[in-house]
Amino acid sequence: METLSALGGWLWSPAGLSYLLVVLVGVGLLSGVPVILMIERWGSAWMQRRRGPNRVGPFGLMQPLSDALKMVFKEENIPAQAHKILFQLAPCLAVIPPILAFAAIPISGHLILDGTEVPVQVANINVGLLFVLAITSLHVYSVLAAGWASNNKFSLMGALRSSSQMISYEIAIGITVVSLVLTYGTLDLREIVKLQAHGSSLPMWGAGLQPLAFLILWISSFAETNRLPFDLPEGESELVAGYHTEYSGLKFGLFFLGEYVSMYLASAFLATLFFGGYNVPFVNEAMLREFWQNAAGVTLETAALLAVICQLISFVVKVFFFMWVFVWVRWTLPRFRYDQLMDLGWKMLLPLGIFNAIVTMVVSYYLNRGGRF
């Protein structure tokens, strides 16, 4: 018992908070997947004027749980000619990068522990923007490994399509990030969020400052997460199920989990860069703390905790806005043809991204020199 309370005390200290957050963020993500699954299935049913899941549990709420249980007890098929090691490694590689990249996302403001301000973030890296991009681009390996290891024609075609689609849109993302870095002047995601706070030097959301970059990154995030209308790697009518045709049971479940965690990551990334991250609209952290101190008459530490909870709720609401758009777009737009997809990436988004970067460069040059060239 004493060791437990000692452990609890350590986790609630500046040194241990990161490890507490590892567990909280990880478990939060894994339990967020059934939530968005239910939202997606109800949303789909609503848009298609059908009932949706309503048999398992109250309002069909137990549907994701029963689906997961079914997957656990399914037979896992490994084709005889598959590459055994790569075949089992690929689903793991689909899940690990999106969870890992969440380490750099600032999920809330600052706690006051032992008299110091501790950022509520697993790892407050000063190159968080690059870290997220670098880790998410590892997702390509899982797709390629799955497609190649399965020794199935549909899998290989799906994997090739998926990987070339992902790397094509990564260029658009890379160029667009340049204009964001020009605007914010930093790669630190927490700094970027602070710059978008009320009363700071850039008192505006990134979506207002860089609307074109917002649009490009938003579109690209659909391609990166292989969601409709860009889900060509899984185009059922052509490729059965794309790169995970041969997967069954929990291995398929891991690909599924990876896709939804990637969606959460893309939403959190977009919210951080463009929707002011954890900031509550129209107030900043100091104002929130002051409010709680005055309204509830608590100490500064408790006020900071309450402010952090408010900011976390604000962040989750923003993330779920983007998650809902993922669902919404899925039933609004039909699937693209492959050449249209590549044309959109290379001939629309990339030139637009370069144009945006050049304009941002000239404008910020003009502003940096105090209004003269």
Partner: protein
Amino acid sequence: MQVESTSGVELLIPILAMLGFASVVATGATLVGRFLGPRNLVGVKVQPYECGIKPTGQARERVSVKYYLVAILFLLFDLEAAFLLPVALSWKELSQLGPIILGVMGFFLFFFLLGLWYEFKVKALEWER
């Protein structure tokens, strides 16, 4: 007192902890599925799926050179984007150098756009043919 964001080793440990968490989830799911489900892999079950007909030939065949071309172009353009990032990061200091820096960046971006134009001209990304 403000805790500054650092890039030191102490930041690596929470990231490794996150990696550990993710790896435990992934390997745990793989192992659980392996031991809980039935295992009777015989006959046509272990054949590659080809819509019910007998699989013909190998799957790992030669594929269109287009995919290779996309990968090469990705390397080129991503390198150029990666070069632009440090410039963007120090743009505040660089713009104090005056119009010459605009000229330098214009020179670089001219060749960037020249490459893009050439890529369109030789129809490197036309998928219809």
